[in-house]
């Protein structure tokens, strides 16, 4: 009986894999074209570039003969997990909103809101008085709450004033960027006395706050990984349970799939819209919070003209996973794998990391018509399906 469902999941995964392959293919093609057009770049370095795109996370540098070497690279692997943490969470943010029919392009602003609240809490409460773990917890929860609040605003604008959420989110992003700049501008958390920086906020380690490593640093020596990744995975599992097992999840999905039918069935569609955006915002807030609570990351506070990329990376992560929270864990890791590849590419060849952004954008482009791809896959399988149907 559930054969159909499994087939659907399989088909989604296959469609995503095809998108990924085409994306990587396009990236390789760009590298090839650039390599062929540039007189400085040899065919060998082009081939190296292509190999790094595919296997960058396993790159271990070059051997004495100058050949690329590959193998298990604990630092890259750990950094991959570290970078995956915020984008899994922003992916969840986008995915949850999608499930209830909303396009949350405001994850960037919610991420900033979370970052701001977290840093203020983590740096303002003296750890001499309050135990560090408690400050950590307060900062994390504060970040999630701020994200939730910031997400709820476009949710409310949509629910009660019928303002398109895409537009409300875009505006709220830029408002967040300016408000955060303003708040830090008038705060005294600016990184002046450390004397090696300008325009940054203290790291949270300045106040003795950092996410515990939970032994992951032993597993992946030389990397920045910490317990945040486990929290992200835990939140993804919680979101999965919320969406697929609970009455609230049922209501959110109903609102997303057909707002009018949900209202007809007595579901409070407006409240759910706000709630869903608030949950989405909490996820994005958690992303910013965990990223900066790692202790070794610094926040550039004069952010009014730049929005954090993590917010937008959530979109491809969610799309690629068909908004399935468990799938998002994997697609988030895939995206951060790509960004590690990009770094290796910059460091080991004359190409640069932006090629991985090109690949991601191609993947998003493809996922815009993933339905077509899925249908195409379905078409090829129709015969098999029909035979299957007769069996039932």
């Amino acid at each position: 009986m559930s054969g159909k469902n499994e087939r659907n999941v399989l088909r989604s995964i296959l469609a995503s894999l095809i998108s990924i392959l085409i994306g990587m293919g396009m990236g390789s093609l760009v590298i090839l074209i650039v390599g062929l057009c540039s007189k400085n770049l040899t065919l060998k370095s082009t081939w190296e570039g292509i190999r790094l795109i595919a296997l960058g996370v396993f790159s271990t540098g070059r051997n004495a003969a100058g050949e690329l070497t590959f193998g298990f690279n604990p630092a890259s692997m750990g950094n991959m997990l570290f970078r995956a943490t915020p984008i899994i969470l922003t992916g969840l943010s986008v995915g949850i909103a999608f499930k209830s029919g909303l396009f949350n392009i405001g994850a960037a602003g919610q991420y900033l809101a979370g970052t701001c609240a977290t840093l203020f809490i983590a740096l303002s409460i003296p750890s001499k008085i309050v135990p560090a773990w408690l400050i950590w917890l307060l900062a994390f929860l504060g970040g999630m709450a701020a994200g939730a609040l910031w997400g709820a605003i476009p949710g409310m604008l949509k629910a009660f004033l019928n303002i398109n959420e895409v537009l409300a989110c875009i505006m709220s992003n830029w408002i967040a960027a300016n408000v955060v700049t303003w708040l830090f501008d008038i705060s005294n958390l600016k990184n002046i006395v450390e004397s090696t920086k300008s325009g940054y906020i203290y790291k949270t380690t300045f106040n003795g706050i950092a996410t515990p490593k939970l032994g992951l640093d032993k597993l992946f020596p030389g990397s920045q990984v910490n317990g945040g990744i486990l929290i992200a995975i835990l939140l993804a599992v919680l979101m999965y349970i919320l969406i697929s097992r609970t009455t609230l999840g049922y209501e959110l999905k109903a609102c997303g799939a057909n707002r009018y039918a949900a209202r007809y069935a007595g579901i409070k569609d407006r409240r759910n819209m706000v709630l869903s955006m608030a949950i989405a915002g909490a996820m994005a807030g958690a992303a910013g919070s965990l990223y900066y609570l790692s202790g070794n990351t610094e926040f550039y506070w004069s952010t009014y003209q730049i929005l954090p990329a993590a917010g937008f990376n959530g979109i491809p992560v969610a799309l690629l996973a068909s908004n399935n929270p468990i799938g998002i864990i994997f697609t988030g890791m895939f995206m951060s794998t790509l960004s590690i590849s990009g770094l290796q590419l910059t460091n080991l060849t004359a190409y640069n990391e932006y090629i991985t952004d090109v690949i991601i954008s191609v993947i998003v482009y493809l996922s815009a018509f993933s339905l077509v791809i899925r249908m195409w896959l379905g078409g090829r399988r129709k015969k098999a399906a029909q035979i299957g149907k007769e069996d039932e």
Partner: protein, 516 residues
């Protein structure tokens, strides 16, 4: 028309298939110069499809079209326009925010260097509108004018293109009786000016009144073509349905009990216009009876039902259910207090098409203790409940409870809603057009279910546009016209003709005569 070939249009042996449906099966239709030729058939008989083929919207798998005796190819609406064939679609194809004039010239614009020459166009349209008596306000926006005027705009669009063959797809379904009369008048005027008209309807009266000849379709097949002068309504309806009609539902007289739903002085504002769509309506529905609200579409039925079920707020008045005031109760509260609702628009309100069948079957009760364990849904309970309903109500689908509802047929989608609403076993069932778009078998089934519920002591409020359904099912009839209730009738003591007069606003009872 001496010397001219007898037929302006001939459609010979047309076959058109859709995935799984043969909508037109070897159909031949011939249209004479200057005649009004009606096309008659039940829902889904293939009338619109045939006309769409003629208008170039669909390509037939087989068959031939001739214009003035010459074989022609019509691949798209441009070809049809070039052959002076025009069509007024079942759903008007107008741009709501454009002015009437812009709508008329769109696609056939006169230009100089690419710039629109609206002055000339305006003169031309004014001349046409005078000649055929089609009164329109050229500068009004389409969204601000009445449906009748919108139809005149559609007709002017055809005349502006100098069409000779005019196709009307169910033009009367949306009109008030006066407007229908006007349209008939206009159509006759058009034929006098040498136009030929194809006219789709499943209303026998209209056809007998205005058409010269009738072609009857049934399930995609050509049943016959007859002169209206040489046939009767009974004969036509037999041809249309394939067996003698008189679909009478077997039912005992009602044994009405206490009031379940009471509606007092309820008014509902209109969304489109600055007036009330429903004004000061009073009635009550009693246990064990089927009360039917009859009326032509657009006379306030939808708004009234929305107010009763909580989808909209009434501007004044009181509604009570089983003695409890629910005027401002939420939808969920109404539902908990005993109202189930079979909605008018099953795709918009009734179903979450992307959910599975079982998810849709618990749409109104997923929150009940039986289906949840704290905050978690009990999937095993949902599954067994869905299986039980599917068996009991004979809902057919590809994969049972996990079928996506979107992939189910219209009849089974409706059965899903019926099963869900009836099984809740609540004292009041509000059913709005429960059989719309369904085939005879499905209709019979649903009618049977409703009567069974009535016999079980439920109060049923039925809204229907089909007079036959109204006459068959109801124990009491209220007629709505212009947002008001204009009469109450006992189906056994009133004729459809009499009801029609009330529905058209031609007659009206004094309120005291029927108000309880």
């Amino acid at each position: 028309m001496e010397g001219a070939p007898p037929y302006v249009i001939e459609m010979l042996h047309i076959t058109k298939e859709f995935p799984g449906v043969r909508a037109n099966d070897d159909i031949t239709l011939q249209l004479k110069h200057g005649e009004i030729h009606a096309l008659l058939g039940e829902n889904g008989a293939g009338k619109s499809t045939l006309m769409s083929v003629l208008f170039g919207l669909y390509k037939p798998e087989a068959g031939e079209i001739r214009k003035d005796g010459k074989t022609v190819r019509i691949n798209d609406p441009n070809d049809a326009t070039a052959l002076h064939i025009g069509m007024v679609h079942q759903h008007f194809k107008l741009i709501e925010v454009f002015s009437v004039l812009d709508n008329i010239i769109l696609g056939a614009e006169d230009t100089k260097l690419g710039f629109l020459q609206k002055k000339d166009a305006r003169k031309k349209v004014q001349a046409l509108s005078e000649r055929y008596g089609l009164k329109v306000d050229l500068d009004a926006k389409v969204e601000d004018i009445t449906v009748g005027m919108q139809q005149r705009v559609e007709i002017l669009k055809m005349l502006y293109r100098e069409n000779e063959v005019l196709i009307f797809d169910e033009p009367t379904a949306v009109l008030t009786p006066q407007e229908i009369g006007e349209l008939m008048h206009i159509m006759r005027g058009l034929t006098r000016e040498g136009k030929s008209i194809l006219f789709i309807s499943h209303k026998l009266n209209e056809i007998m009144e205005v058409a010269d000849r009738v072609t009857v379709l049934r399930k995609g097949k050509h049943i016959g073509t007859v002169h209206t002068k040489e046939t009767t309504k009974t004969e036509l309806s037999r041809m249309m349905v394939g067996r003698p009609v008189q679909m009478v539902v077997d039912k005992e007289p009602a044994d009405a009990g206490d009031d379940v739903l009471t509606v007092k002085d309820v008014s509902v504002p209109s969304r489109l216009y600055k007036r009330d769509a429903v004004s000061k309506v009073n009635f009550s529905v009693r246990a064990g009876e089927i009360l039917c609200i009859a009326g032509i579409d657009g006379n306030g039925q939808t708004e009234l039902i929305h107010a009763l079920t909580g989808l909209e707020r009434p501007s004044c008045g009181h509604i009570s259910l089983c003695g409890i005031d629910i005027t401002s109760a939420s939808i969920r509260q109404r539902s908990l207090k005993g109202m189930s609702h079979i909605p008018e628009d099953r795709h918009k309100h009734g179903l979450v098409l992307d959910f599975t069948l079982e998810q849709n079957l618990v749409l109104q009760r997923y929150y009940e203790p039986r289906f949840r364990n704290g905050i978690f849904i009990r999937f095993d309970e949902v599954r067994s409940y869905a299986n039980a309903l599917i068996r009991q109500y004979d809902v057919r689908s590809g994969q049972g409870p996990i079928t996506p509802v979107r992939s189910m047929s219209g009849g089974n989608q409706q059965k899903t809603i019926i099963a869900r609403e009836i099984d809740r076993d609540l004292p009041l069932i509000v059913a709005v057009q429960p059989t719309r778009g369904l085939d005879v078998g499905a209709i019979e089934y649903i009618h049977g279910q409703l009567v069974a519920q009535r016999d079980a002591g439920k109060a049923i409020l039925l809204v229907s546009l089909e007079l036959d359904e109204v006459m068959n099912l109801s124990d009491r009839i209220l007629v709505m016209y212009g947002g008001e209730i204009v009469g109450q009738f006992d189906p056994a003591q009133v004729s459809t003709e009499e009801l029609g007069l009330y529905m058209a606003g031609a007659k009206r009872q004094k309120e005291e005569a029927w108000r309880v």
